[in-house]
Symmetry: C2
Subunit: 344 residues, 2 copies
């Protein structure tokens, strides 16, 4: 049996490299060494020293690929990718392109990952644009839907949104095992005549497609909507993701603050603490692992920028079924087969 | 002293006319009859019968203006306004235009209110587009910011967003008494190079303006952001408003469900019930009353579509300072004075 070869960007994200490396070691200790090979890419000397501090045994077994440069969040992504050929992101994506690794996981700049993906790997046949797909928890439904694009394309056309809907449907069907996934379009009203120019045009394309399009969904209805694929342009998708995160954190914080006013309340709050923590975990989309950039000819997963060690570990664990299920290949195949068919 | 003349659309919204009329009667009973004159517009016979059922005394004192037609949410707004000249919305806005009423409050179609406002009242001098301004609670800041546009303009250009920022600043300064209001632009990243085409162009305009522009704000930071005016295009603003509402309702529902599992938890939850209700009220932007359509040459307030009697009552109460403070006139004056000045 071949090993699943997972490469992690040690240099990307707010907590790099320390939390990333801790997370990699955590994953190393948890995972089956016979089936998974873990490597990191970044500044070799610094990584080696840090890994040895965390665990000598893990340090021996985690392979380090040297990259002397780092692409930061405030750089122009395309320029940075072209200029910094020895950056961890360019190295990582390249090693996926050459099939030396099955998947590259990074908490670095989404823009740079996309630019590298576009320039080095390219898009699957028949696709206008790749998209970042994030599993979005539907609070009252006890399930999650794939939200895409969650931030790869700030400016979109209706053809792109149609592609996102197709990729989302294929992903949910092929990978998550959902039969005939329900596709909803994020809009400013449920009625079919609502929307801005983009969503109005997209509505028509989706209605005429062979997808299981259930119509517009209003953001108000997300928590209790029975939907599998949530389609939006990358700007809107990003706002949805971040606002949901901010609201959940903010609300739980406020509840905690309120509950700690007064002694009886304090006692009562103590009794409910575990339930609140449980809810927090359910709401945390990091629980679902890193988000795939769907549509690239290679496995690239984007972790949350503020990922800590446990989020990194979770992302590595969840990357295994991504590789195991051959998501990249199956998506490419289905997209190629569906060209024309889904459009009719 | 002149009376404040308030006109309410009896026919608009999900719960019209029953909840609207109940709310009007509630307000009638609360308000000072010497300073406020309350009227409703809609189907006279049906309203008269219903009002009499609720309160004979109130029915005698609430004036009814007959309108035989209703504009529904799924009609094309501009067409409906032109075609249905005897609709409650067209009648209501017209009576504000003729100065027979100081303000018109409706839970009906935002699009129709805007179209009627545009055709009948017109925009204040120097303005490209009016906007719906909603007081948005910043959960962890114990204050609210004016979010605009909250849904009037689904398609916007950067000039429109600059106008929204100006109107928002004037409103917060003149009406809410905030000195040098902080203006933030909703964006998909905090860095100044982030955004889609629209927000990138808007960023430049805001940066070059004389407004107190604090830069991009990410949706994740809304709960704890110290900002007074939140600027977005009407599509994005609408998503923000509805998602916040949906998240708050969904989360509190989930918390309630979780807290009711198990007996100790049930007892504890009981002790905390009042605190949760308090939080729910704080989060409810209806507490701030109806949302003004800023930039029209007349007072038009939009209530939440699902307003119940108490929301209607609250909207009427909050309309009084709107009239008292001469918001429409002061905004028009300040916009005219600031033409050029703020742009430089």
């Amino acid at each position: 049996m071949n090993k699943y070869r997972i490469l992690v960007d040690a240099m990307g994200g707010d907590n790099a490299p320390d939390e990333i490396l801790k997370g990699v070691v955590m994953a190393y200790e948890k995972l089956d060494k016979k089936s998974v090979e873990l490597s990191v890419v970044g500044d070799e000397k610094s990584i080696e020293r840090k890994l040895n501090k965390i665990s000598r045994r893990a340090a021996k077994n985690i392979h380090i690929i040297h990259a002397s440069e780092v692409i930061s969040a405030d750089e122009s992504p395309a320029k940075a990718v072209i200029k910094k050929q020895d950056s961890s992101i360019v190295r990582g994506v390249t090693l996926v392109g050459t099939k030396e690794y099955d998947v590259f996981i990074s908490a670095g700049s989404t823009g740079a990952l996309l630019a590298a993906g576009h320039l080095i790997l390219g898009e699957v046949r028949g696709l206008t644009r790749p998209a970042l797909g994030v599993m979005y928890p539907l609070i009252c439904q006890n399930k999650a839907a794939l939200l895409l694009d969650a931030g790869a394309n700030a400016n979109c056309k209706e053809e792109n949104l149609l592609d996102f809907a197709k990729m989302g449907s294929i992903y949910m069907e092929e990978v998550m095992g959902v039969t005939s996934p329900k596709v909803g379009l994020v809009n400013n009203g449920a009625e079919s005549n609502k929307g801005n120019n983009l969503t109005k045009a997209t509505f028509k394309l989706l209605k005429d497609s062979k997808l299981n399009f259930i119509g517009n969904i209003e953001a108000r209805d997300f928590p209790h909507e029975d939907v599998d694929v949530i389609v939006a342009d990358g700007f809107t998708g990003n706002i949805i993701l971040k606002l949901s995160e901010g609201m959940a954190i903010g609300l739980l914080k406020e509840i905690k603050r309120k509950f700690l006013e007064g002694n009886i309340a304090k006692l009562a709050a103590l009794a409910l603490k575990s339930k609140l923590i449980g809810l927090k975990d359910e709401l945390d989309y990091r629980e679902y692992g890193a988000a795939p950039i769907l549509g690239l000819k290679g496995g690239v997963l984007k972790m949350h920028g503020s990922s800590d060690a446990s989020a990194v570990c979770k992302s590595i664990e969840k990357a295994i079924p991504f590789v195991e299920n051959k998501v990249v290949e199956r998506l490419a195949k289905a997209m190629a087969e569906n060209i024309g068919e889904l459009d009719e």
